[in-house]
């Protein structure tokens, strides 16, 4: 197999896993005030996220690093073309990270309210921005020999915004389900019921997205020429429906697993449709960044493949191990009793 293809698959896997893992952090975070009615609730919410947010964010750092190492031209152009959007993303991720770490380290009403607000904004903005960015990448960026002809405002086109809303809704349901799995009592009941209420809206946005994608992008071309690939979006739809079915049966953990699958498969659907492009050009396809014209040398790709094949499985193993250690739900009693809690 060509090393470019290996790295394209890895690139897709890194982004998909990142969205699956940080998706529930962002979802729970944007619902911080909706679900967290009292200070106690909010502390429980933060303590469900505390042990894992940093580790989840590293998938983004790795996805960025992998883009740099394997497809340096794409990394260079993607990051400089999307400058202002990425700047907002950085600010949001920075304030969200310190909010989790600092909220519990001092007292005062204003202190807590300030960090609560930045947890909400710092998680909502990334979801929206990632959606807008990937929507625009699916549709192709206005670039040619002269460079880039877009701006922050031009990213906010209807398709980009729709993809942004899709990400927000996907993560909101995902986050609410995560909270319902990780808490007990009133908070659990409220988050499960919120996930149920949000689900029809998610379905509506997903249907609109799948329809609009046909007009705004060329993502379906690969599926038309290789119909066997249709299994990916079909499974994504099945997983999305599965969320609702398992919620109806009160199987919250299975519903959350289904939501994990939905996000992985939605990302896979997009990436499969893009192939072999990383970023299509929507003016003249000759300027599209593909896995061939923007990749590193064969030598570098080989080295990176060895590193990835050794270390990514190890990472996955110890991550699963630590997730298992923290699998028990977080309760208010435990948070109040434990001085280590956030």
């Amino acid at each position: 197999m060509e090393f470019q293809i290996i790295w394209f698959v890895l690139w897709g896997v890194l982004w998909s896993v990142y969205f699956m893992l940080d998706g529930f952090v962002q979802g729970a975070g944007m619902l911080h005030h909706v679900l967290g009615k009292s200070d106690g609730d909010r502390r429980v919410l933060i303590n469900t996220i505390g042990p894992v947010w940093d580790g989840n964010e590293v998938w983004l750092v790795t996805a960025g690093g992998a883009t740099f190492a394997a497809f340096p031209t794409t990394y260079a152009l993607m990051f400089s073309y999307l400058y202002s959007a990425l700047l907002l993303l950085l600010f949001a991720l920075i304030i969200r990270g310190v909010s989790y770490e600092f909220r519990g380290k001092s007292e005062g009403e204003l202190w807590k309210k300030g960090w609560d607000a930045s947890i909400c904004i710092g998680n909502f903005l990334p979801a929206l921005l990632f959606g807008v960015a990937f929507g625009n990448i699916f549709a192709g960026l206005p670039m040619d020999a002269a460079g880039y002809h877009g701006s922050l405002l031009s990213l906010l086109n209807p398709y980009g915004l729709l993809t942004g809303v899709l990400f927000v809704m996907l993560f909101a349901v995902h986050g609410a389900l995560y909270v319902s799995v990780k808490t007990r009592g009133d908070l659990q009941a409220r988050s499960a019921s919120l996930a149920k209420k949000l689900w029809p809206a998610l379905l509506a946005v997903a249907v609109a997205f799948l329809g609009y994608t046909n007009f705004a992008t060329k993502l379906y071309d690969n599926y038309l020429s290789h119909p066997v690939l249709l299994i990916v979006p079909l499974l994504a739809v099945a997983a999305l429906l599965g969320i609702r079915i398992f919620m109806a049966k009160e199987m919250l953990l299975t519903a959350f697993a289904s939501s994990c699958l939905t996000i992985l498969l939605v990302a896979a659907t997009g990436v499969t449709g893009l192939s072999p492009n990383l970023i299509p050009a929507n003016m003249d396809t000759a300027y599209s960044l593909t896995i061939y014209n923007s990749s590193s040398s064969l030598y570098t790709l080989k080295i990176m493949t060895v590193v990835a094949f050794i270390f990514v499985p190890i990472v996955i193993l110890y991550k699963i191990w630590v997730y298992r250690i923290f699998r028990a739900p977080v309760t208010l009693d435990e948070v109040l009793e434990n001085k280590e809690a956030y």
């Binding site: 303590n47 505390g50 042990p51 894992v52 940093d54 580790g55 964010e57 590293v58 983004l60 750092v61 790795t62 960025g64 690093g65 992998a66 740099f68 190492a69 394997a70 340096p72 031209t73 990394y75 260079a76 152009l77 993607m78 990051f79 400089s80 400058y83 202002s84 990425l86 700047l87 950085l90 600010f91 991720l93 920075i94 990270g97 310190v98 770490e101 600092f102 380290k105 001092s106 460079g147 880039y148 590193s296 040398s297 030598y299 570098t300 080295i303 990176m304 590193v307 990835a308 270390f311 990514v312 990472v315 110890y318 991550k319 630590v322 250690i325 923290f326 434990n338 001085k339 280590e340």
Partner: protein, 449 residues
């Protein structure tokens, strides 16, 4: 100002701010892990209280290191797209490896350490805190190998309009990268040692928890002394490497204009870049510069005049930063030596002058490491990759002045606020002192037993 100047300024602001937190993380993680090791080995809860107290300060600092780190990775692409495209084939690899082998490890096990006191056995908990310094130091290795490549590019060829990697082994064994790694992490240990000694001195001055802080001070003093000596030795070796690989940087560090043998060091001088000479040269120690460069008293030093003006680094900032860094390094070496002796001899809590100096010395190693980076990065100019690519060719072509003005202003504001919050939290936690209530940690274990 143009995009280039603004982007350089932004890189300076964001990387220097990031590097306020990194060195303390590198060293304090080791000290915290050592304290917990003592607790696990002896069962003495004083060490557990130490682990908790210094660990809490560590965590505040660590959080800011993590969140400001993402900016660094994004910025290469955002502001330095030409650089990223041109050297990504060889420069991207260590960054991606850093994330894969080090960041995951550090982020997962810091989470286990913070939240896992009552969820895993003592030994697993101890293992998780040791994995944190292991991972942070490993991440430093990869990022400094990447920086070492910018300083002294090896293992590449210019092909297909870019620098392509042909020898990964050469990148790993690049003497410049390896030396930078050792020198930099050791200087981080010094930051941590003086941080712990300084805060301990504060409490000793107040006669607060004397045994606790004497013991903390003693541990930090030993750590600080060993690191200071090694920083001094690796610093000496660094100068030799710089003289060999980047003669223009070395000449700027010592402000040497004429090529001569047996160059002496003026303790006082003012470089004049216009006239290409030094003014007010005073107190010359013969042959010292030649000795520093090649460990030979009569070695020839290439003066700045050997290099065309547009290939010389800015002399004044390079020279001043180097002098101040070296001076602070000497002071810190002496202070840690004194600290090691005094903390083992007599009533340390009564030596108020010494304790006051140690308290005031907390910022000194911080300043020294920032100055070290100025020498390394400003001294490399006008190159972004020495001899391969100029900084002026590296900036993104697609970004506008207004975009970078907004981002620079945004970073300055956001980082300013975070800096204030950081100092507020550190001071609050440090002043409060250790917590004696260990119920949350110890109780579940008793139940287990």
């Amino acid at each position: 100002m143009d995009v280039l100047t603004l982007s350089r300024l932004q890189f300076a602001v964001t990387s220097m701010f990031h590097f306020i937190f990194v060195p303390l993380t590198l060293g304090l993680s080791i000290l915290t892990a050592y304290m917990e090791t003592r607790y696990v080995m002896t069962g003495d809860t004083t060490y557990l209280k130490m682990t908790k107290f210094w660990g809490k300060l560590f965590l505040v600092n660590f959080a800011l290191g993590v969140v400001t780190g993402i900016t660094m990775e994004f910025q290469f692409g955002m502001n330095w797209a030409e650089y990223s495209r041109y050297v990504g084939d060889i420069f991207g690899a260590p960054l991606a490896i850093e994330a894969t082998v080090a960041f995951f490890l550090e982020s997962v096990f810091i989470g286990l350490w913070i939240f896992g006191w009552d969820k895993v056995s003592k030994k697993v908990h101890l293992l998780s805190i040791w994995l944190v310094p292991f991972a942070t130091n490993l991440s430093a290795l990869w990022i400094l190998l990447a920086n070492g490549w910018m300083q002294h590019p090896v293992g590449y060829v210019l092909r297909n309009g870019r620098a392509e990697m042909v020898d990964f082994g050469a990148l790993l064994t690049n003497p410049y990268g390896v030396m930078k790694f050792i020198h930099t992490v050791l200087s981080g240990y010094m930051v941590a040692a003086f941080f712990v000694m300084g805060i301990s001195a504060y409490h000793l001055l107040k006669k607060n928890r004397i045994d606790f802080f004497k013991c903390s001070f003693r541990i930090a003093a030993t750590f600080g002394l060993v690191s200071s000596i090694l920083v001094f030795l690796t610093g000496d070796y660094s100068a030799v490497l710089v003289a060999k690989t980047q003669p223009a940087k070395f000449a700027a560090m010592e402000s040497v204009w004429e090529t001569k043998r047996g160059v002496g060091m003026n303790l006082f001088l003012v470089p004049n870049e216009e006239q290409e000479c030094n003014e007010f040269e005073r107190f010359c120690i013969p042959k010292v510069v030649s000795y520093l460069a090649f460990h030979l008293p009569n070695a020839e030093i290439k003066g700045l005049k050997e290099f065309p003006r547009d290939l010389r680094p800015p002399v004044l900032p390079t020279f001043l930063s180097f002098r101040l860094m070296a001076g602070l390094g000497m002071f810190l070496l002496l202070a840690s030596l004194l600290g090691s002796i005094l903390s083992r001899w007599g009533k340390q809590e009564d030596r108020t002058l010494f304790l006051k100096i140690m308290l005031l010395a907390i910022p000194a190693p911080y300043i020294a490491v920032q100055l070290g980076w100025i020498v390394a990065e400003v001294g490399r100019q006008p190159w972004i990759v020495y001899g391969v690519m100029k900084t002026s060719d590296a900036v993104s072509g697609s970004i506008s002045v207004s975009q970078v003005v907004v981002s620079l202003a945004g970073f300055t504001l956001l980082y300013g606020v975070l800096g204030v919050i950081d100092i507020y939290l550190l001071a609050k936690i440090a002043k409060k002192g250790p917590d004696d209530d260990l119920s949350a940690i110890i109780k579940p274990r008793i139940e287990e037993a």
